[in-house]
């Protein structure tokens, strides 16, 4: 049921993809180059098919820890910020290397959340990003962790990705993490739990579901994802949550296959479409 809502995802022209740390690294914290290379391939291909693509990537702290040979992520905030400064440079180097294999140019844009609240900054960031898209470049965005401490403590860039999606008036935000969607019950304790494939309204019941223990195992957790989805819906942007363990899932999503949880922005249009 509700397959028709997926039809609209076939025609998305401006897509923000958010990838979480868990999709870029192994459980032991080391970089998963295979995943990153695949992500570079998939995003380059999507861009070539004519869509504009923005990547919001976490992972700087983990990469920084690896560069310095640390086996554990530090707890202290200043140390996390320092690792982020080391790791952001490394992470960009890795992205550049893989995207270059597909002859795809990338750019680095580090944002703070006030990009929304300060009008002049908002305008500059928006025009820079649109200019980059127009030049067929894939901007890779992260929180500017050195000076801002919000995402580093909360949300694993979920909030930032919705901010970016609304900043550039995207058509679709896809959040890839270690959660394959929003379930109607805790999938770990209830075997018959099913993914909710289409969400038309973010109801209090849904939020209740999201705050349950079964869905808070990623860094950001489901609560920040729901909140990001709400931001998207308020701006008329479709939003999709699914697992990033295999980035080629993006092809299937954009082919309209029923994957993950889709927060439907434009119900009326969609129904007519069907």
């Amino acid at each position: 049921m509700n397959m028709h809502y997926r039809e609209v995802l076939k025609n998305k022209k401006r897509i923000v993809v958010k990838i979480g740390t868990s999709s870029l690294s192994y459980a032991n914290g080391r970089m998963n180059f295979h995943s990153i290379e695949k992500l570079a391939y998939v995003l380059s291909a999507i861009r070539r098919q004519g869509a504009q693509v923005i990547l919001v990537s976490s992972g700087a702290i983990g990469v920084g820890a690896g560069r310095l040979g640390l086996t554990k992520r530090p707890k202290e905030l200043a140390k996390k910020q320092a690792l982020a400064a080391v790791g952001q440079a490394e992470l960009m180097k890795i992205y550049q290397k893989f995207f270059e294999e597909y002859n795809q140019m990338v750019a680095q844009v580090l944002l703070t959340k006030d990009v929304i609240t300060i009008p002049e900054r908002n305008r500059h960031a928006r025009s820079t990003l649109l200019k980059l898209l127009e030049m067929d470049i894939i901007p890779i965005i992260n929180e500017n962790d050195t000076i801002s401490t919000f995402e580093i403590e909360f949300g694993d860039n979920d909030t930032l990705s919705a901010t970016v999606a609304s900043l550039v008036s995207a058509d679709l935000l896809i959040m890839l993490s270690d959660i394959d969607g929003l379930y109607n019950a805790d999938p770990r304790s209830q075997k018959d739990a099913e993914i909710i494939h289409s969400v038309l309204d973010i109801t209090p019941e849904l939020e209740q579901l999201a705050s349950g223990a079964g869905s808070s195992f990623s860094t950001g957790g489901m609560v920040t994802k729901i909140s990001a989805a709400r931001t998207c819906l308020q701006h008329g942007i479709d939003c999709l949550i699914t697992s990033g363990s295999d980035p080629s899932i993006l092809f299937d999503i954009l082919a309209g296959k029923e994957i993950g949880t889709h927060f439907v922005a434009n119900k009326q249009n969609t129904v007519h479409h069907a």
Binding site: A85, V86, A89, M92, A107, Q108
Partner: protein
């Protein structure tokens, strides 16, 4: 704190000269190895972005420049990484906008980050965050930014300028006048001999910095 102008690292073809870049990484790593904590403020994002995008010249409008800077900043830090790697020196990338001085919380965050990086033996490479900056992009060639960084990090000495002939213009802390030193050995000696008073004063006064070492020599 060392301010690097990209023009000092370019060859006659307008591209980054790897030999000069290598020398810079060596000198700075060596300074660090001698026991000094080193921060670098470097321009170059636009020049490297334009090169990466195969533009024949640097764009002349603000919007294109910001886009080119977003491409080039990634290239710039990669270039630094490559050369510092040769000396086994870890670097970090720190980007912010000059209006940071108006945000006490950010100033504190940034100071903590600098302190932690320096304690860990890492050299931060700092640049203006051009894509979201609301100040005139690169026109001031990072003079105000360099002074803001020096103040945040409470640097004892700023190396304002170096030129192709191995002359360095440096400003020691404690309100001492700026001076020109000749070659790396003299730079190292001078930095050794300065006290640890930290820099004081208003960073925006930096807008009055001389345009070139030649000008300093002439004026003195």
């Amino acid at each position: 704190m060392v301010r690097v102008e990209i023009s000092t690292l370019l060859g006659s073809n307008g591209k980054i000269n790897p030999k000069k870049m290598d020398r810079l990484a060596m000198v700075l790593t060596n300074l660090h190895n001698s026991g000094k904590q080193v921060l670098v403020v470097s321009s170059g994002a636009i020049v490297l972005g334009a090169e990466k995008m195969k533009m024949h010249q640097v764009p002349d409008n603000q919007l294109d420049m910001m886009a080119v800077a977003a491409v080039g900043q990634a290239e710039l830090i990669r270039c630094y990484q490559r050369h510092f790697d040769d000396y086994n020196q870890i670097i970090a990338q720190v980007l912010f906008t000059s209006d940071i001085v108006d945000y006490p919380q950010r100033l504190e965050n940034t100071r903590n980050t600098f302190d932690t990086l320096l304690d860990m033996g890492i050299i931060p490479i700092i640049n203006e965050n051009d894509p979201i900056s609301t100040s005139d992009i690169e026109y001031d060639d990072n003079y105000p930014l360099a002074l803001i960084v020096a103040r945040i990090a409470q640097a004892d000495v700023i190396v304002i300028k170096m030129d192709l002939n191995g002359k360095y213009l440096i400003v020691p802390g404690g309100n001492m006048p700026s001076l020109v030193v000749d070659g790396e050995t003299e730079l190292q000696q001078k930095i050794e001999s300065f006290g640890t008073n930290g820099l004081t004063g208003d960073p925006y006064k930096g807008r009055n910095f001389p345009a070139s070492i030649g000008e300093i020599i002439f004026n003195n």
